[in-house]
């Protein structure tokens, strides 16, 4: 009798375990499925307009068939690069400050600022960049877009680099100091140099996040229909181009918007995968 009860209890426990496992698996699927569906949906809608000329041609006037988004693809690359050139040096330096010289009042303020910054709606960042760059320069510009994107990237870069540097065990800092090296050399040439792959991953993640932003670019880079390399004037970007085409009444443009969306997603996905790739490559070999 007692044996039978025991067996039943074990069965009951087993069911509970399996049920819980099922719930976790379902949640995982619930997260993965939308991404796959979005990818598929965007691909199906955009595939028709995807061809070589999409990458090599500029938009054609309404009514004419064909045309591409070369200017927007290049514009996105230019503006994201401007943003990265501003955000990466400042972000990494702030990360070093938080990880190596923390405990001061300034570092607590910085930490709070970073947390708040990552919560600011991107449209607000766009308006801010409009006020501090576009208004004084009296023109929408790629530079203003870069500034807006750098504000998006900053908190991500600061947070990841702080955490990456904090992972470096303290005894390595002591080992460097014990060699009679000044602190800045230990940080720069031992700690930072050893974490370079991880830091790079953080930077790529920040860049891929910023590359997909639309709202901060609406009032800053603004967009145009021509090829432009002038960072002092408006420049097209994929997200803004997609936005413009998607709300237009023309069927042809709407199809192109889908194609643009697909390219943008592939670009961001590729950057993320690349970041993961270097991380695993390095982790296998060495690292802290």
């Amino acid at each position: 009798m007692s044996l039978k009860i025991k067996i039943n209890y074990r069965l009951f426990r087993e069911i509970k375990t399996q049920l819980f496992k099922l719930v976790t698996i379902l949640s995982a699927i619930a997260v993965i499925l939308p991404l796959l569906l979005i990818l598929k949906f965007v691909f199906v809608q955009g595939a028709g307009s995807l061809n070589l000329s999409f990458f090599t041609e500029l938009p054609k006037p309404v009514g004419e068939v064909g045309g591409g988004m070369k200017h927007a693809i290049i514009g996105t690359i230019v503006i994201v690069m401007i943003g990265a050139m501003i955000a990466v040096p400042i972000g990494i330096t702030c990360g070093i400050y938080l990880s190596e010289f923390s405990k001061s009042k300034l570092s607590k303020t910085l930490k709070l600022t970073v947390d708040l910054m990552s919560g600011i709606p991107s449209i607000v960042i766009g308006i801010f960049a409009y006020l501090i760059v576009v208004v004084p320069m009296k023109s929408f510009s790629a530079f203003a877009g870069g500034v807006a994107l750098s504000i998006i990237m900053l908190p991500i870069i600061i947070k990841t680099s702080e955490e990456i540097l904090k992972l470096v065990p303290n005894h390595l800092r002591e080992a460097g100091l014990a060699l009679g090296l000044p602190r800045w050399k230990v940080i720069l040439f031992i700690i930072l140099k050893g974490s370079i792959a991880n830091l790079l991953t953080g930077i790529i993640l920040a860049i891929s996040r910023a590359a997909g932003e639309t709202a901060p670019l609406l009032f800053t880079a603004f967009g145009n229909m021509y090829m432009s390399y002038d960072i002092k004037s408006p420049m097209a970007t994929l997200p803004v181009q997609i936005y413009t085409y998607a709300i237009s009444p023309f069927k042809d443009w709407q199809r192109q918007a889908w194609a643009g969306a697909f390219i943008l997603m592939v670009l961001i996905l590729a950057m993320n995968l690349f970041a993961r790739f270097i991380l695993t490559k390095i982790k296998d070999k060495k690292g802290f």
């Binding site: 080992a175 014990a178 060699l179 050893g194 070999k285």
Partner: protein, 259 residues
């Protein structure tokens, strides 16, 4: 080694040295002097402040938040805690080997040895290679790594890594070398190798070693200090301390009745 063969020249001296972690005083009024080219062991039960004391001797203790030090440490007569002294110069002259082998993970064996010199601005490859060979030989590691100097330092075994760290410390040629339980994470064979090399480097360097292992202290050291609760109970020739201790507490500890 008998007392007559030991150098009489004092190289390092602690005067009323005290150290704190916040409000907790870990080291209490240490007065001791170390002779040139000797091995000096520090023994004592866990938590007796011997590591903290050692870390005061090259001013690495102050790198921990909320700590402070009082008293003097004289290196060849000069107080290293003097306001005019640059802490970086102190550490160039008093090297340190830590409890856990800690080679820099992203660097090759060669880079690990010469990083101190390289970051001091010495970039001539032939000089660096020469120093690396000399120091790896002193650390009894040369034969094992001479064909793979460009492999990662962390690819070595624990015992080899610790000898690499010793070579790294020797590369900047400090007259004094501090060792904080350098063999406590190693197996007996690796330990024996390190003890052997200590006997070799003693010709050129003064070694101060913290150890949990009393047999080790008895085997390798010329002088031994016994610490309890941040105080130095006894300091003297190791042959005296281990055969004929003056203090009851020392005798109890080395005979295993306490600690």
């Amino acid at each position: 080694m008998s007392k007559s063969e030991l150098s009489e020249k004092i190289i390092l001296e602690a005067k009323n040295l005290e150290a704190w972690f916040g409000d907790f005083q870990a080291v209490k009024g240490i007065d001791v002097s170390y002779h040139e080219r000797t091995i000096n062991a520090i023994i004592g039960p866990s938590g007796c402040g011997k590591s903290t004391y050692l870390r005061c001797l090259n001013r690495i203790h102050e790198e921990i938040e909320g700590t402070h030090v009082r008293g003097q440490v004289l290196l060849e007569g000069q107080n290293i805690y003097d306001k005019k002294i640059d802490v970086v110069d102190v550490r160039k002259r008093i090297g340190m080997v830590f409890q856990k082998p800690n080679p820099f993970p992203s660097m090759s064996i060669l880079d690990n040895v010469v990083i101190g010199l390289r970051l001091q601005g010495i970039n001539k490859r032939s000089t660096l290679l020469e120093v690396a060979e000399t120091c790896l030989k002193k650390a009894a590691l040369w034969e094992e790594v001479k064909d793979k100097l460009s492999s990662l330092g962390t690819s070595l075994s624990g015992g080899q890594q610790q000898r690499l760290c010793i070579a790294r410390a020797l590369a900047i040629n400090p007259p004094v070398l501090l060792m904080d339980e350098p063999t406590s994470a190693l197996d007996p064979i690796a330990t024996a190798k390190i003890e052997e090399l200590m006997n070799e480097i003693k010709r050129d360097y003064t070694v101060i070693i913290v150890t949990h292992n009393m047999q080790q202290a008895a085997r390798i050291s010329d002088y031994t200090s016994f610490f309890v609760y941040g105080k130095m109970i006894e300091h003297g020739l190791s042959s005296d301390i281990f055969t004929n201790p003056k203090e009851k507490q020392t005798e109890d500890y080395i005979s295993g009745r306490f600690g």
